[in-house]
Structures are given as C-alpha cells and as structure tokens.
C-alpha cells in the first residue's frame, strides 16, 4: 500500500519543552487512522507538524515516499492534505464561500477571483452537506452559523479540494448526535473513494467505531500502534491505553 504521508522520528520543541519526541507515523491509502492520547499527549502538536503549521526541529516528513523540505501549510494543501482543525480555522466575519475557498481561491490570471464559480460550487457543497436552514446560502457570513454548521463549512472545504488525506482534529466535539453521524458518514465516504483519514478524538468510542488502525500517543511519544483486528472492543482499547500510559 502506498504511504500518503510518513513522519520519521519527528521531534518538536517549544522553548525547553519537548512536545513531540521522535514520533513516527504513517498513513497509507484508503485507511482510517485513529490518533488517541490524553490531554497534553502531543496530539495537536503532531497534527500541526504533519499539516505544516509547525515545522519539525528534527526528523523527516515524507510525502508518497519522497522527503520534503521547508514543509508548510500551503505545501501540505498542495500535496493533497486537507485539515479540519479543532477550532475549524474559519474567519467568522467572512462569507461561507470565502471560507470554503480560503487560501485556495479559484483564480483568473493576475489573481482575480472567479467569484461566480466559487459561489456556485459553495452552494452545491452546502446542499451536499445538508444545511437545513433556508436562510443560509453561500454568501451568508460564517459568524451567524451554529457550531455544527461551522463544522460543515470546514468539511466542505476538505471535500471541495478532493484531498487524498483528510485530517480531522476532534471533529465531533460539541456536535449533536445527528451532526456526529454526518461526520461519520463523511469519513466512510472518503474511505470508500480510496482516500485516507487521520481521525483525532477524545471519545474512544467514536475513534474505535470509525478507525482501521490506532496510534496511541503519550507525552510526545508514539507508544503503541494497533490494528483493529488486534482488539475486539472499545473497552479493550481503553484498557491498553490506560496500561501503556501508566507503565510509560
């Protein structure tokens, strides 16, 4: 199986604190990887390094087997990695359409924006995701949306860009049951189209249900990598997680 992305012994420090210590992780095509760990385990740092928001102090990042230099958020997006950040990464005073195309606007030559095309696509995506309110269209400001609807906008962005790897950082936080189900459906659709998902969650049950493989992170280190076949219930996963963290 082709590796979409690979972190090889990546270390990231903030001042004197080592947030990530020689962490290695890979995501292959068509799989859903669940990343779990306690608060402060380094999940956010790992994600932000993976998607280019932070640059690693040591170690390599490989995209489809090739080492990349000067990794940053724009390069990550151009390599087919889209992220739904925990804070959604939205600009609330701007319209839905501007948010969906943020950083990857459809452009004419000289940088002018294909506004009509963007609005058309955004309206299509809004219907696809299933916004219920008729008062919402592509030109509505994001600030008027509920938490679930904002998550919808962040996901629409990932859908439009047809990413090969979609990173979902705590995507079910503060969502209703119905909205959580929509996120799960989305993950399954991505998998079905032979693309990959890296799913970060607090809720072990959510992560267990959706993932093919689990990566357990503790104090900046990858302490366990398990296949779903290795465990039979979420409780077992929970127990492994507790034991490793305790022993570590």
């Amino acid at each position: 199986m082709e590796n979409i992305i690979e972190l090889d012994n990546v270390t990231k420090r903030f001042g004197g604190i080592t947030a990530l210590n020689k962490a290695s992780l890979k995501v292959t095509r068509g799989e859903v990887v669940g990343l779990i760990g306690d608060n402060g385990a380094g999940k956010s740092t790992l994600i932000k390094t993976l998607v280019g928001v932070y640059s690693p102090d040591e170690g390599d990042i490989l995209i489809r087997g090739k080492k990349v230099n000067a990794w940053n958020a724009l390069k990550a997006r151009e390599s087919g990695i889209e992220t739904v950040f925990q804070d959604r990464a939205l600009t609330p005073q701007q319209s839905i359409v501007k948010n969906i195309f943020m950083g990857k606007e459809l452009r004419y030559p000289f940088g002018f924006i294909k506004e009509k095309e963007q609005i058309f696509e955004a309206n299509r995506l809004i219907r696809e995701i299933g916004f219920t309110s008729k008062l919402i269209n592509a030109e509505s400001p994001v600030g008027n949306l509920s938490g679930g609807e904002r998550q919808g906008v962040a996901i629409a962005r990932a859908i439009y860009n047809k990413a090969e790897l979609i990173v979902l950082d705590e995507p079910t936080n503060n969502l209703s049951l119905n909205e959580t189900q929509k996120v799960f459906d989305f993950v399954l659709n991505v998998k079905k189209s032979n693309r990959s998902v890296l799913f970060i969650g607090h809720n072990i049950y959510h992560v267990y249900d959706i993932s093919d493989r689990f990566v357990i992170l503790d104090r900046g280190e990858v302490v366990h990598q398990l296949n779903k076949n290795d465990i039979s219930t979420p409780e077992e996963l929970m127990k492994i997680m507790r034991d490793t963290i305790g022993a570590h």
Partner: protein, 324 residues
C-alpha cells in the same frame, strides 16, 4: 420569499457600513444646502473640495486595506513628505520628472516595506511603532532639508504635469486619477486574492495561517500599499503647489484616519469598505471647506470633525458588533 430575504440580509451585511457613510454624506450635504444655499451653489466651493479630495483618497483607501488586515499605520503622514522630498530634490537636480515620480513612489513602497517588516517580524504594536516612525522620518526630513522648502516651477513644462495635475475642462486632472485609483482598489479589495487574503488575515490570522496564507507577507504588502498611496499623495500635492515643504503631510494624518473610520471600516480588522471610505473622504473634505463656506469661523472645523467621528462610530455600532 425566505430566499429573497436572505439575499437582502447578506446584501446589508456586505454593504451596510458603506450605506451608512453614504447616508452621513447626504445628511451633511443637506445641512450645508439649507445652511448656506448661495455658498453651496457656487462652483468654487466644490472646486476646492475636488482639489483636496484626491490627496485624501490616495492616503485613505490604502489605509482601509491595512486596517482590514488588523494593523494601523501613522507613519504614512511622514512617508508622504519623504517621497515628496525625493521627488522634489531629484527634479531640482535636473532628473526627468517622470523618473522622479517613479523613484518617489518606489521610496514610499520601500518605507512601507521597512515599517511593515519591523512591525510584523518583531511583533511590535503597529500603533506605537508607526508613531515612532512618524516622528523619526519627519526628523530625517527636517534634517536633510535643513527645514527649507524646495520650489520646482520647472515641473510645469514637463508632459507629466498636464497629464497628472493639469486642468481638464475646469476639472483638476487628479480627480480622474483618484477615480481610477478608487475603481482599481474596489476590485483589488473585493475581487482579488490580495484583498480577500487581507480580510481573512485581519479576521482571524491563526485560521488564515492554518489555511496556508502567509500572514506576514500579506501584512507587509498592506504596509507597502499604504507607503505607495502616501507617496502618490505627496508627489501630487508637491506638483500642484510647485513646492515641497518639510512639514507637509502632517495635517493629513488625523484627517485620513478619520476618513477611514467615518467611512465605515471598523477598527478591529477583517472588514473594510472602499466605497464607504470615498464617502468618508467626502465628508471630511466638505467639513474642512464647508464650515468656512457657510460663514462660520474655522475654529468650528475641529469641533465638527470630532462630532462626526463620534456620530459615525455610534451609527456604525448599530450595524452590529464583531462576530466571532
């Protein structure tokens, strides 16, 4: 029906602030018309406004970009004079005025880039840092020029004079250049990647960065644009009056800032309106000249400028608070 409603709501969200400043402008015109109809009807009142407005437009519109990006710049009032000084000095030394114009604008861009880099790289407060640069550059100008003005009558005989600041059937040419600048900036702000990125950066710079926008580069470019606008304003004014004088531009500092905010651009970043700013400039320019025209003493100008800033802020508050 609900769909029409939502388009109406969105239209208001996008244009409410601009409509607000247009409303203020209309009210101001009505007051002047009632207060001094004979002065208002005389064309020379509007001619004086037309002379003043272009300079203010070149200063104010780029500031809208910068404020929308979440920063502020006060140093533009000195950049204005530095660029004019470079222009005048080179013209005086026999360099072709067209080349002097280009070099003057380049000076403005370079100062903007330096100020922007200083603020963005060292994470300085743009208000305080640009206040420092405002004084620093003014000091440099006073020292270099020995506090003396430079007269450049020779510029009148060059082809750029009638083209840029000449007279076209009674209208000063600079009003046309200002109009072209406004139209360009309208598209640049609303339909171009540069303007859109500025709005994202000013709205939430963390989000913008996560989406791969180079936040620092966007902000530095916005500072450069302010430098370019100030340089154009300074050089145009120097050509109109045939004179560079070392204190020039200082008077525009507060007027241009007032025009930005009266024009409906909120101070907190992420939003801005070019059309609103044009009417903001209109309000400030007519205020400066209209008070005298209706026969009141000049002392009232500052009073009314202050009053209109406060009224504008209160009015724009009705349009809503910042959403997060």
């Amino acid at each position: 029906m609900s769909n029409n409603n939502s388009y109406l709501i969105n239209y208001f969200h996008r244009n409410g602030r601009a409509l607000g400043s247009i409303g203020y402008f209309v009210i101001l015109m009505v007051i002047f018309l009632i207060g001094a109809p004979e002065a208002w009807i005389r064309p020379n009142l509007h001619q004086s406004v037309f002379v003043m407005m272009p300079t203010l437009i070149f200063l104010t519109i780029p500031l809208v970009f910068l404020v929308a990006s979440g920063e502020i710049d006060l140093s533009f009032a000195s950049t204005y004079a530095v660029a004019a000084y470079v222009f005048a000095l080179l013209v005086k030394n026999g360099v072709d005025p067209a080349i002097c114009l280009v070099l003057g604008i380049f000076t403005g861009a370079a100062i903007g880039a330096l100020v922007g880099t200083l603020i963005v790289v060292f994470r300085l407060s743009s208000l305080v840092a640009s206040l420092g640069v405002l004084f620093l550059l003014r000091g440099v100008i006073l020292l270099l020029s020995n506090s003396r003005s430079i007269t450049i009558m020779e510029v009148e005989n060059h082809w750029i004079y009638p083209l840029l600041v000449g007279n076209f059937y009674g209208f000063p040419m600079q009003i046309f250049w200002a109009a072209i600048f406004v139209i360009f900036c309208y598209y640049f702000f609303n339909k171009h990647v540069f303007g859109i990125h500025i709005q994202h950066v000013g709205d939430n710079s963390v989000s913008a960065e996560q989406m791969g926008i180079n936040v620092n580069a966007v902000k530095i470019k916005a500072f450069m644009f302010v430098g370019i606008g100030s340089a154009i304003g300074g050089i145009f004014t120097t050509m109109i009056t045939y004179t560079f004088f070392p204190t020039q531009g200082f008077g525009y500092l507060l007027l241009a800032l007032a025009a930005v905010f009266v024009g409906g651009t909120p101070y907190w970043g992420g939003l801005g309106t070019i059309i609103g700013a044009v009417f903001g400039v209109g309000i400030i320019a007519y205020m400066e000249i209209g008070i005298i025209a209706i026969g009141w003493s000049g002392e009232w100008r500052q009073f009314f400028n202050g009053l209109i800033i406060l009224l504008a802020l209160l009015g724009h508050r009705l349009h809503g608070e910042r959403v997060r």
